[in-house]
């Protein structure tokens, strides 16, 4: 008596179809599972045995062998409990075999036979659709999440018995459905995602920083904010997602997949807001970029298509920050293990904040008594290569009481978002089909192509290059930012003004920071 059911395993951020084969034969009573299994999958044996018994099925003393294939891929997670149980029941003749070949089954079993929710349902269902499956049986709690994938029927099952009844006759059950447009309408303010109840108009003053943020978001440039404590750096950063263009369905799916694997989807079917991740500075490098014995996406992947906010940048472990360098260039992180290589997307915008010195008040000498050496040591915590990744660097000044009192009409996030969207559209049109979406992605070669400079502009850049002793990287950074400023201006040409502004946003220069040396 042989039977085969289908399930899937998470590999990176994609699902991989796994066939679950069960064979029941005579011989010494034995229940064995093979197929490169992690310990949590091996333990399924006990869960399945008892769940079958408690659901009212006989577990006859036969020789039962379960094989999960392909056998050379490591199986992990608890989603195999249900397909194993179904495969065994089919071998015993409790389930009609016909329905099995078009159905993907995932779910964890409890000892009493109920089905518990699992992580990664969205990418698994997605993979099933790609492979041409007609339907999925998923845990009831994950049903909405799975139903987001169109073109495949998703059934939520509460117990093992219910799942068996479904497999014997799907006609009696209705597949789960969600209204995607409804999902996108509702406001949300959950952990780790942008809070839609905040708005830029709530931040008093800080016109220069707001302008810098607008430019940064338009071209997806990384931005570093420097300022004394309480100047509103964190407040401003939290509002960055509110001026980013709204998520498209595809983007939303991409983010939701990552969140589904990380088990952070909660009760939502889909992530519909831009992620805003603000990890504490005690974070380890593994937690930041992802990894572990069985790789999991890290904070940078959770911030994909959103904002990764590093508050108090110098407090982060130096080695932790250095691992960011490669993903920042590649927009993805590759984690290699002996058995497999995993690739997680990491197309985030990096926003960081820091104080100008350890007490936070330099250059206000009435409050700051840090020596230049102390200031240099404080800044030295951030390596030059990482600093080079920040296209825009701006100081947030202290707000005085008067400014807080004035009830001036500040611009709302919606107004700023309109301008950002316009600038993004210009970039999208210009780089169509080039594999580039934002100005920040321009390479030195493509800068040459897309950022033509006239004699006057070239002259200005040359002077600045000499005078400010810019590096080649800084030079390219200035042109990229100038391109974005020109796009915000709807100007095809990059003018002296655009370049000047870009130069003003150049990052900390060792020479000027704390006064130049000899």
């Amino acid at each position: 008596m042989f039977s085969r059911a289908y399930s899937a395993v998470i590999h990176g951020i994609d699902g991989l179809i796994v066939s679950v084969e069960a064979d029941v034969s005579d011989g010494l009573p034995l229940f064995e599972m093979v197929g490169l299994l992690n310990s949590e999958v091996k333990e399924a044996r006990e869960r399945v045995r008892i769940a079958l018994k408690n659901s009212g099925y006989m577990f006859p003393p036969k020789r039962i062998t379960v094989n999960l294939s392909p056998a050379d891929i490591r199986k992990e997670g608890t989603a195999f409990d249900l397909p194993v149980a179904v495969a065994i029941l089919t071998a015993f003749g409790h389930v009609l075999e016909d329905n099995l070949k078009d159905t993907l089954i995932i779910g964890e079993l409890s000892l009493n036979g109920t089905i518990k929710k699992v992580n990664g349902v969205l990418p698994l269902v997605y993979a099933a659709r790609q492979r041409g499956f007609l339907r999925c049986i998923v845990p009831k709690e994950n049903a909405d999440e799975g139903a987001v994938v169109s073109g495949i029927k998703v059934y939520g099952a509460g117990t093992l018995k219910e799942a068996v009844r479904m497999l014997n006759g799907f006609d009696d059950y209705k597949p789960n459905s969600v209204d995607i447009s409804m999902l996108f309408q509702g406001g949300h303010s959950e952990d780790g995602l942008s809070d839609e109840n905040v708005d830029f108009s709530e931040v008093a003053g800080q016109a220069a920083v707001k302008r810098a943020i607008e430019i940064a978001v338009s071209g997806m440039h990384n931005i570093l904010m420097i300022g004394p404590p309480g100047s509103g750096k964190t407040m401003l950063a939290k509002r960055i997602p509110t001026i980013m263009p709204e998520l498209s369905f595809d983007e939303s799916m991409e983010i939701s997949k990552i969140y589904s694997i990380a088990g952070l989807l909660g009760n939502r079917a889909l992530i519909t807001g831009r992620p805003f991740r603000s990890p504490h500075h005690s974070i380890t490098s593994t937690a930041l970029v992802g990894g572990g014995a069985t790789p999991k996406p890290g904070e940078i992947s959770l911030a994909h298509l959103g904002v990764l906010f590093l508050d108090e940048l110098p407090e982060f472990n130096k080695n932790t920050l250095e691992v960011l360098r490669q993903p920042l260039e590649e927009k993805a992180v590759t984690i290699s293990r002996l058995n497999a290589t995993y690739r997680y997307p990491a197309g985030f915008m990096m926003v960081a904040s820091m104080n100008p010195c350890s007490c936070g008040y330099y250059p206000d000498r009435n409050r700051c008594n840090c020596s230049l050496n102390m200031i240099k040591r404080y800044l030295g915590k951030i390596s030059k290569p990482l600093l080079d990744r920040f296209d825009i660097c701006i100081e947030a000044p202290q707000i005085d009481y008067k400014e807080l009192q004035i009830k001036k009409m500040e611009e709302t996030s919606a107004d700023i978002r309109k301008r950002v969207q316009a600038a993004r559209r210009i970039q999208m049109d210009r780089y169509a089909g080039q594999g580039i979406w934002f100005n920040s992605q321009l390479t030195p070669k493509s800068i040459h192509k897309y950022c033509r400079l006239d004699a006057r502009e070239k002259n200005l850049l040359e002077q600045a290059f000499e005078k400010m002793k810019l590096s080649a990287r800084a030079y390219h950074r200035i042109i990229k930012v100038a391109r974005t400023i020109a796009d915000l201006d709807s100007s095809e040409r990059i003018t002296v003004r655009h370049i000047s502004e870009a130069i003003c946003y150049r990052s900390i220069d060792g020479k000027y920071w704390g006064g130049e040396g000899l």
Partner: protein, 389 residues
């Protein structure tokens, strides 16, 4: 006495021997110049003092004691132990190898002004050029953790004075001291740094470039020999040399209780002019300076205030047209001028500038970069600008 026996074995010319005796007298630990000169006078010459027997030294100490100059047991012991011919010779060789020169109070080339202070050092080490006694000198001192205002003022004042041929003296410390030296060097002037540690030690270490460059256009001076560490009590001692070598002391930024004020007190004892650069009454870093002005120090608002005391008036008038902001004429258009006018010596944020000038951020930044490229303003901290003097 073993050491004297060894000495007799050598044949050296008289000059060389004289140097040796002087160096011995200058390096007796803990013995100040007044006692050394009293001892030499007593013996009627430095050579006799060097070869004097222990008995003769004790007699000398007794006689000096009657005149009020008391030698302690320890000092006598130090005098005797120092008479190690080999060691002295080795030390002199070492100095020669490392380009360290020295001058004692017995030499004519000893700085004239310093000779006349209370408690002058018997021996001064120096690197670089000899300190010229005939030139006017101003010492510029101030806070280590200075503000941008202090930094710019120090550079400007030092540069303007150095351009008139006045020697700039300071302590090579962090902050105002360093900037005074830098200002003088930029103006191709002469500048001397007085150290509170051994002559061959650069303290603070980050000033190593300054330490090296100053030896080309001035020098480094210390009363401490090679290898002596910078100990806290050395610094007030070195301040007496700073004030002693100069004709006037200019304090740029000092808190209410600042080490710079020790230099001022010593300078007052030595009869030097005291100058102070005023600051805003709310700035802690200017409280010391403002107090000095209150007590009668001369307020300095331009280099002329110091120059008019040092050089003849005709010269001062000539310099008037060369310094200050006059060089700007014709360089700026009206909009740039408006931005420039809004920038002072305290770093001002771009946003504040936008409010002050009424320009939009984009246009403002265009003017700022233009001014920065013309070397009129600088960006000491991100997004903040100050005027360059």
């Amino acid at each position: 006495m073993a050491s004297t026996g060894a000495v007799r074995g050598y044949k050296m010319n008289t000059d060389g021997m004289q140097e040796l005796y002087k160096y011995w007298a200058g390096t007796i630990p803990g013995l100040k110049a007044d006692k050394i000169t009293a001892m030499i006078d007593r013996f009627g010459g430095i050579e006799d003092a060097f070869y004097a027997s222990e008995k003769a030294l004790e007699d000398m100490a007794k006689k000096c004691g009657e005149e009020g100059i008391r030698f302690t047991e320890r000092e006598l012991k130090a005098i005797i132990q120092g008479r190690n011919f080999d060691a002295i010779k080795r030390n002199l060789e070492y100095l020669k190898e490392h380009g360290i020169k020295y001058v004692t109070i017995l030499d004519d080339s000893y700085p004239y002004k310093l000779r006349n202070i209370y408690d002058p050092p018997f021996l001064l080490y120096f690197k670089g050029m000899m300190f010229p006694s005939d030139k006017k000198a101003i010492s510029i001192v101030g806070a280590r953790n200075c503000s941008v205002y202090g930094m710019e003022t120090a550079r400007y004042l030092a540069g303007a004075l150095a351009r008139e041929g006045i020697i700039i003296i300071s302590g090579l410390a962090r902050g105002i001291d360093s900037h005074a030296h830098i200002g003088a060097l930029y103006a191709d002037g002469t500048t001397y740094g007085i150290m509170g540690c051994g002559i061959d030690i650069c303290y603070p270490p980050e000033n190593i470039n300054l330490y090296m460059d100053m030896q080309q256009n001035g020098g480094i001076i210390s009363e401490y020999g090679p290898g002596i560490n910078p100990l806290p009590y050395h610094f007030p001692m070195r301040n007496r040399i700073i004030s002693g070598l100069s004709d006037g002391i200019a304090v740029i930024e000092a808190k209410e209780k600042s080490g710079s004020l020790i230099t001022v007190d010593l300078g007052l004892e030595q009869g030097r002019n005291i100058y102070a650069v005023p600051g805003r009454i709310t700035d802690k870093l200017s409280a010391g300076c403002n107090n000095l002005i209150k007590m009668g120090a001369k307020m300095v608002t331009s280099p002329q205030d110091i120059l008019e005391d040092l050089v003849d008036y005709a010269k001062v008038l000539r310099t008037d047209s060369e310094s200050g902001q006059i060089k700007l004429a014709g360089l700026l258009d009206s909009r740039e001028q408006a931005v420039y006018d809004a920038i002072g010596l305290t770093p001002v944020h771009v946003e504040e500038l936008a409010l002050l000038t009424g320009f939009e951020l984009g246009e403002l930044m265009e003017h700022l970069i233009s001014l920065e490229l013309k070397d009129l303003i600088c960006q000491p901290v991100n997004s903040r600008y100050t005027r360059k003097l």
